[in-house]
Amino acid sequence: MRKYVVIYQSVLMENLQYTANIAMGFISYLILIFVFIHLWEYMYAAPGDLIAGYTKAQMIWYVMITEMIWFGARSSTIREQVSADIRGGNIAYLVNKPYRYPLYILAKYTGEWNIQLPMYAGLTAVIGITMVGEIPDFHWITLVAAVPCIVLGMTIHAVFKLCIGMLSFWIEDANPFQWLYDKLILVVGTIFPVEIFPAALQPVLKLTPIYTVCYGPAKLIVDFSAGKYLEILLAQMLYLAFGSVILFWIYEKGGRKLYVNGG
């Protein structure tokens, strides 16, 4: 376990050097949020309206938080490195090292998001409070409660991305699948809360990673309830366990294929 901590620490240290670069990403985030604020200002014709059970402030905060998670989780490590390692043949050297490759990637990714996400969180809080106003019925305790959900969500996200990246053991280009997954999260998961979709679709959406990766944490922060909290935590645990089993299964299978083909 200690070696993963060391990997984590060195990535953390390296990324501290790039805080200015990360802050550059604020531009895209700000512009996106800027667009969404204008969009929802337009959509909520009268101040007291509710759309899908959300007030205007809740809706904008919801989008800001899901986008914050999306931006905070951006990492070339989980998006490109796995595919590149496998396709470039680098993996043959990495599987022989005395660590488990998926855990090594996860440690590296954690080091990355541990810097990025807090930075985006700070930014989100500042623009949220100045441009949207406080979240209705907000308590600090809900924020503390939501932290484990965010950590779990970030990890689940990486586990799924890694599973997709490892498809490169079999197919030449796993990018289209990365795309599909990203689109699912981005278009369906971050722009709207699940409740806005037609009632028939909602149960289906709850089965997708959207529910555990972005909907869960954001929903808890804008509209906390104990029942929801337990439900989301439970779902996340199940997802993580399930995802990890798949991840290691794919990795073992793929690794064996590597030995058969001689790398």
């Binding site: 200015a20 670069n21 550059m24 990403g25 531009i27 895209s28 512009i31 996106l32 800027f34 667009v35 204008h38 969009l39 200002e41 337009y42 959509m43 014709a45 759309i51 030449e172 280009d173 990018n175 289209p176 795309w179 689109k183 278009v187 369906v188 722009i191 709207f192 806005i196 979709f197």
Partner: protein, 265 residues
């Protein structure tokens, strides 16, 4: 003079042709890239179906208008990346000293750099835009205007990317800045201008090129307006001139730079 221009064009055309040939090397990857890009764009229709279920129009745009907007944004960006893909990775070339290879050639450095790469998915973007126009709001006149504005939009976006990317000659950090500015332009380009008011609106029509590349053209395609057309063309000329000027100032700096760049000693 004329032969020089002709020779230059010949080199550019060859470069673009060879780029596309390179992308087509693996036919399966080439086609999946194109199709996935189209599919990728199409997913956003979901967003608009949902939004337009909540209200009849968004910022004064109905479904047809939104599709026209989306189509033009996709086509313009697609054409720009098809022909001049390298402009979008210009900062990387500058930082890693990769412009050297173009500097020893006796051709126009900017054009050689710009046309030195392409991307298959750009074809998907271009095709998606054309498809949307043909499906949602076809008329011959509109299609011709659409083609014209695809070209002007592509040139405006290219010039903007060039301008932003050239800042890397002065500030290494501009690499990230440039890519965020370009992607932000695209974010704006896929939302109706009607939702923006006041200062935001002013910015989008002046500082950020989306007003002239996309919004005005969409208005013109809905209801023709000659003055807006002139504004678009004028803006195109000004922005291009500024971008080329800044690039060459930067190039001079690149050559006299004392910045240690990897692979440059």
């Amino acid at each position: 003079m004329l032969t020089a221009v002709k020779n230059q064009m010949r080199v550019c055309a060859l470069a673009v042709k060879y780029n596309i040939m390179r992308e087509m090397l693996n036919k399966v990857t080439f086609l999946t890239n194109i199709l996935f890009m189209m599919f990728n764009n199409a997913t956003f229709i979901v967003q608009w179906v949902i939004l337009l279920r909540l209200r009849e129009d968004v910022g004064g745009y109905t479904m047809r208008d939104v599709m026209l907007l989306w189509g033009l944004a996709a086509s313009s960006f697609g054409l720009s990346r098809l022909l001049f893909s390298r402009v979008f990775s210009l900062p990387e070339l500058i930082i890693n000293g990769k412009l050297d290879a173009y500097l020893v050639q006796p051709k126009n450095v900017l054009l050689s750099v710009m046309t030195s790469a392409t991307s298959a998915s750009a074809i998907g973007d271009l095709a998606y835009g054309l498809l949307l126009v043909c499906i949602f709001c076809f008329s011959v006149k509109r299609l011709l205007l659409f083609l014209l504005f695809t070209v002007t939009g592509a040139l405006i976006m290219t010039a903007f990317a060039l301008l932003m990317g050239s800042l890397t000659f002065w500030f290494v950090r501009a690499e990230m800045f440039a890519s965020h500015m370009v992607s932000s332009t695209i974010s704006f380009a896929t939302y109706p201008d009607g939702i923006f008011k006041g200062a935001a609106r002013f910015l989008l029509y002046h500082l950020i090129p989306v007003g002239m590349a996309i919004y005005h053209p969409v208005h013109i395609m809905i209801a023709f307006d000659g003055r807006k057309l002139l504004a678009v063309l004028g803006y195109l000329v000004l922005l291009s001139a500024a971008a080329v000027f800044v690039f060459y100032r930067g190039l001079r700096r690149y050559s006299s730079s004392s910045l240690m760049q990897s692979g440059r000693v």
